[in-house]
Symmetry: C2
Subunit: 256 residues, 2 copies
């Protein structure tokens, strides 16, 4: 396609630096159309808004790029883009991010960034979610942007990859030249060790606030967390079929 | 274990009829402890609350059962139960539901009911999510309750199943004797065809409201949707590894 239509979204909100960096890269590859949350939506997973109305509003955030902010979740943004705003057009690619912080390993199931990409993927649109391993607002997206541009050039222009796919791409927060390349990985079987800060609010009521640390127990070669620790960009081809096929055999006895 | 500790949660909220039915079944199998959302949380997927405090409150809803309502998502309920409320005890089983409405096929990724069960599963707790194919508040849970009791008796008492698992159980909304048995299935590759109701609010502002119909395109034998249409209870063994292992081979060229 001469000028493919690229949908860009994220979960940190339309005014986060990460999405601006991604829009600037995406512009090199086609016509960019942005629909992104009007506020941070980190950790919203595959949530959708079903019991409330959703608002969208045209905004002027990215130069020369049609952009809407949306009151819903990242998945709502993709659904509205496909069903309403771009209903008469073919979306060639969906890019989500650049997320501020890692979406490797188990983070994929909590991540609004990856859920948005997954929603587009299950609607038949090839999708890539990008995350930089730096949570801060001031994160330096320049190295990540260069690597994303190279990856897209390779996939879209050189390989002219066809068909549907969903990629979870995580990028170490190190200078451009220190990144060793790409590793195609499986999702590490690691998790969060939750803790809650327990405190009393100004009205004397108890509250809890989620915190915790990441358990890097699965650092086997071949995992995304291992690749990242070695200075590689991790790419996990992902899917929405949650069937545990080994489990089908294990539970077959119930049919008798 | 003589009297196993069973955590019960849901996504329709602690005052929904479905969770009352599930608590009544669970009581036959151990000590029940409830932590459930204080309001409907359908469609929240694997969302967690990270930018706001979470409140929990002890409530008197189920006779003889310690119960808390929680201001967060279904996944928050499970995290708080495990990390705070039951931190010194071993949870033997997590039951989520009974959901008002289907969680078959792709619904698993949007479902708060299944996400709560998945969260417990990834914390090492065997978990089962139950859904009845009837969305209404007045749904008749009596047939489903009987079948759930039988399933638990079979798994826990007769087979004494060990180890971790996650089951997505959907139950047709038909009388007890019309249900033909269990089918161990894969998740059907079906999806929602979204539509948005577009309207103007009393202040003259446009809003969108999500609706849509379910696309039953994948009715192959072996899928949950096929089993349900044939009058079986569908059981999909599920998991949180979203890696597309076939995709790893497909994208290996990027490493060169």
């Amino acid at each position: 396609m001469a000028n493919p239509l690229i949908l860009v979204t994220n979960d940190d909100g339309i005014v986060a630096p990460g999405i601006k960096a991604l829009v600037n890269v995406a512009k090199q590859f086609g016509e960019v159309f942005v629909v992104a949350p009007d506020k941070p939506q980190s950790g919203k997973g595959h949530g959708i808004t079903i019991s409330d109305p959703i608002r969208i509003r045209k905004v002027d955030v990215f130069e020369g790029v049609t952009s809407y902010e949306c009151s819903g979740t990242p998945v709502d943004c993709v659904k509205l883009a496909k069903t309403v705003l771009l209903k008469d057009r073919e979306i060639s690619l969906c890019l989500s991010g650049i997320n501020h912080g890692s979406n490797s390993s188990i983070n994929i199931i909590y991540s609004g960034t990856m859920s948005a990409a997954m929603e587009a993927h299950l609607e038949g649109i090839p999708s890539i979610g990008f995350s930089l391993l730096d949570y801060s607002f001031e994160a330096d997206f320049s190295s990540a942007s260069q690597h994303i541009a190279e990856l897209l050039r390779f996939i879209l222009h050189k390989q002219k990859l066809q068909g549907n796919y969903l990629l979870n791409v995580n990028i170490p927060a190190i200078p451009y030249e220190e990144i060793k390349g790409y590793k195609i990985c499986r999702q590490a079987d690691a998790r969060w060790i939750e803790e809650y800060v327990e405190a009393i609010d100004p009205k004397g009521q108890q509250y809890f606030w989620l915190t915790g640390s990441f358990d890097h127990s699965d650092m086997e070669e071949g995992t995304d967390n291992y690749a990242l620790s070695e200075g590689y960009i991790s790419i996990v081809p992902s899917m929405y079929d949650l069937t545990d096929y080994k489990g089908i055999k294990r539970f077959k006895f119930l049919e008798d």
